[in-house]
Amino acid sequence: MNIIGPDALVFGVDDIAACAQYLTEYGLQPVGGGRFEALDGTAIVIAAKDDATLPAGLGTASMLRKTIYGCADQATVDAIAQELRKDRDVKQLADGAIESVDDLGFALGFQVTVRRKLLDLPGELSNAPGSAARRPVNSVAVDDGMAAKPRTLSHVVYFVPDAAKAEAFYAKRLGFITTDRFTGAGPFMRPAGTEDHHTLFMIQTPPQMKGCEHFTFHLGGPTEVLLAGTRFVAKGYESFWGPGRHRYGSNWFWYFNSPLGCHVEYDADMDQHNDQWTAREAAMGADASQLFLFQHREKWAPGGPPPGAQRAPGDH
């Protein structure tokens, strides 16, 4: 199945105005109809939680209502429809897309991908001695006004009451490949049409937590993650975890609380894998999740006060 990755996540939210402001300040472009797009056209879509056009909720506090996957072509969408019709309803939508559910009750959509090619957007280059790919001479790495925009919808993380059952569904029915796994917690999976380490990660939880833990968009590199996150914090948004760098997938991360009932992350520089890759497995925990972690601190006073002087809270 040539599924490329998530094209959009649809949420039924309590506070439309707060979510719209949040997603805009996160860096997505409001394009109308509750749609907030990254540079390549992938998006978060919000509607009122009681909007009758949304698929049913999960019966928990989660506001995620649908994950829409982008496929390479209509033939892939049709093949998925045929496969899922074997044991469940598949709704045909007007634009050729389809809608159904996975084995855990998460609503899924499949469509010909809306992803646009990103042109003239270089990734982050470093002046590492010995490396051929270096930043050109007279080109500076950072400036105060530099862009740090979400480029593409990277991945979504589900809380699932039965991770083994969920993994089997995505592997057997939709052709996802498990790249790594946290023992007893859940798999990192990528659909066959992308080399990203994961576009879906699932974590085993009690049923009352079923839903979305977080989603994230790829930025251009670690500097953009740090910059976008710093700007977000400066606007008053609440950092939850990060910035840091994950071990599995190697992606840089910074997570924030959100009014969408889940965390929202900035990420960058994820590992790419193909079929030669052998999945690793480790126990889930701080050591396995993060190679390193920094904490944002608003104040920094180089040198500090004279010895013995009173220090302000937060200064060290």
Partner: protein, 119 residues
């Protein structure tokens, strides 16, 4: 050790709104006060995940109509008056109450020893 710290004047918290405070000067709000049919003060620590700060933005602790406290990490909803989680990952658990001291002039203070231990 008992140490009473002033938070604000009670008139600075409007009906149906919430406000976070950092009386210990930790750099992050460690408690918040909601005014809805009276004043209700809670530790800013979701029972679902040890020590999780609950707002999604400074002072944003309530849902759209101001009827519930919400944790913006995974959406848990809490009763404003009892602190009990009524929807979400930590159903049956509860926020930890902070006792407010209100002076006759309306100044709100707390004894910060209440905020000393982590949940």
């Amino acid at each position: 050790m008992q140490e009473v710290i002033r938070l604000c004047h009670s008139g600075e918290i409007a009906e149906g709104s919430a406000r976070g405070f950092d009386p210990k000067g930790s750099g992050r709000d460690t408690m918040f006060v909601v005014r809805r049919d009276g004043l209700h003060a809670w530790r800013n620590a979701c029972p679902h995940w040890t020590g999780t700060s609950m707002a999604w933005r400074k002072d944003a602790y309530l849902n759209a109509d101001g009827s519930r406290i919400v944790c913006a990490a995974h959406g848990a909803q809490f009763d404003i008056w009892s602190g009990a989680c009524i929807l979400g990952p930590c159903i049956g658990e509860s926020l930890v109450r902070v006792t407010l001291i209100e002076s006759e002039e309306g100044t709100l203070s707390v004894d910060i020893s209440q905020l000393e231990t982590s949940t």
